[in-house]
């Protein structure tokens, strides 16, 4: 077992940290207040090769393994303070590019992957609807076959990147009488007649990540845009969740490291009652808990990456990783806010923003409650 980084990985990490610190932190606080996405930063990340890291070079990617990709994303999160951007990038990578790579035919991959990798066509993963959430497969959007096309009708909500997307991976029922087994998946290009993308109303955190609704009314999509066979929607969704739940927080791990460093420095510098506040056990306990969470999160994340590089489906490990990182992020953000005291509550110091941004982590990509349910249900399989 080797926990070390290769010299190539260390160099990649250093390059990405330097890139992120110098190029991606423009007006973060102002843009958070204005709920403004930094499209230039998105393009710069694509140019840096971040979106395509794990994709084949022949499709515009970097051809890296999963472990190296996670190292790069952790570095991105360490250097970049825009938590919306560092959620949106992996969101596209894991929930659009991975299913396209696994289920797309060669023509579909050639059509869609280069634009996803070079940032010119941001990808949205469109599953959630007004009446489905945790019960994701209770999908009311329909796709009726009409000759060489499907006619899509329905409403997707709270979809990441929807207002700026160039293409959306849309889940719709091709056989409503089959319930969850009648779902299929489609790559739908923005601008297709009958597809309407709308921004969402203001949200608590992650305001720099665009979120919105996509409404389909008599939207004709070529059958050539269907990903995988009819009825494979559930398998495609589960496949994308295997990736997304494992690695959606890869950037956040780097942010946790930066958060811990900032909290440690502040606690050493800030003096009360004649002592640095780090000398008080209530404060030092919080720092120790943050450090332990960082370590356990890193171990789970990198083990997930290693397992993926062995070619395995990892539903148990994905659920463990999503649950632990989501909860740890929020807990450490609250600890960081308490360590900073009043300054932690003020927007100026950007500590409170991490609390707002990371509160969503226990909800999106499957709530913590759902992850616990998945883990418990998978235990008998693991123990057989």
């Amino acid at each position: 077992m080797n926990f070390g980084l290769s010299s190539e990985q260390q160099q990649l990490r250093a390059e990405i940290i330097a890139f992120a610190q110098s190029e991606l932190n423009n007006r973060v606080r102002d843009r958070d207040h204005a709920s403004e996405f930094d499209a230039d930063a998105w393009r710069r990340c694509a140019k840096q090769g971040l979106m395509g890291l794990r994709m084949p070079q022949a499709l515009g990617g970097g051809g890296k393994d999963t472990v190296t990709t996670v190292i790069a994303l952790e570095a991105l999160g360490y250097g970049c303070r825009d938590n919306g951007l560092t959620l949106a990038i992996p969101g596209q990578m894991w929930s659009i590019q991975e299913p396209l790579l696994a289920f797309g035919d060669s023509e579909q991959k050639k059509r869609f992957m280069p634009g996803l990798c070079d940032g010119s066509t941001p990808g949205a993963h469109a599953m959630t609807e007004p009446d489905n959430g945790s019960d994701a497969f209770a999908c009311a959007t329909t796709a009726r076959r009409e000759g060489d096309d499907y006619r899509l009708d329905g409403h997707k909500t709270m979809i990441g990147l929807a207002p700026v997307c160039g293409v959306a991976l849309v889940f719709a029922s091709t056989r409503p009488e089959h319930g969850q087994w009648g779902l299929s998946a489609f790559m739908v290009e923005a601008g297709t007649a009958g597809m309407h993308c709308q921004p969402a109303s203001e949200k608590m955190g992650l305001r720099t990540a665009p979120l919105g609704d996509i409404v389909f009314r008599d939207c004709l999509v070529p059958a050539a845009n269907r990903l995988g066979p009819e009825g494979a929607g559930q398998a495609i969704f589960n496949h994308s969740m295997d990736w997304e739940r494992s690695f959606i927080f890869a950037c956040h791990l780097g942010a946790m490291q930066a958060q811990l460093e900032a909290a440690t420095q502040y606690a050493s510098r800030r003096r009360q009652f004649g002592h640095a506040v780090a000398d008080f056990q209530s404060v030092s306990n919080r720092l120790a808990d943050m450090r332990l969470r960082l370590e356990t999160c890193r171990l789970l994340l990198y083990k997930a990456a290693w397992l993926k590089d062995q070619g395995q489906a990892i539903p148990m490990h994905a659920a463990l990783t999503k649950l632990h990182l989501g909860e740890s992020l929020l807990a450490s953000s609250l600890d960081a806010m308490r360590i900073h005291g009043g300054r932690g509550f003020m927007s100026e110091f950007e500590v409170e923003r991490s609390v707002r941004d990371n509160a969503g982590g226990v909800i999106y990509s499957g709530t913590s409650d759902i992850q616990r349910q998945l883990i418990a249900k998978l235990l008998p399989v693991e123990q057989r």
């Binding site: 969850q180 087994w181 066979p229 398998a235 495609i236 057989r384």
Partner: protein
Amino acid sequence: MQDQLIDFINNELLAERGISIGPDDELLLSGHLDSMAIFQLVAFIEGDLGLAVPAQDITVENFRTATVISQYLARL
């Protein structure tokens, strides 16, 4: 193989609900097996029967009944 599948489904996936299926009973459209149960069934097929199931093959056409599943697995 079909008997192994039926034993697994009845003993591991349905026993707690007091349901028992036969070779041609609907598994998916009846609601007997949900997506989590399919995870478990595929893990059994790959772990105990030693057959790799491509994710895109997990459809109602291939997993509708125990008979259909064993026919599908025979084609792998």
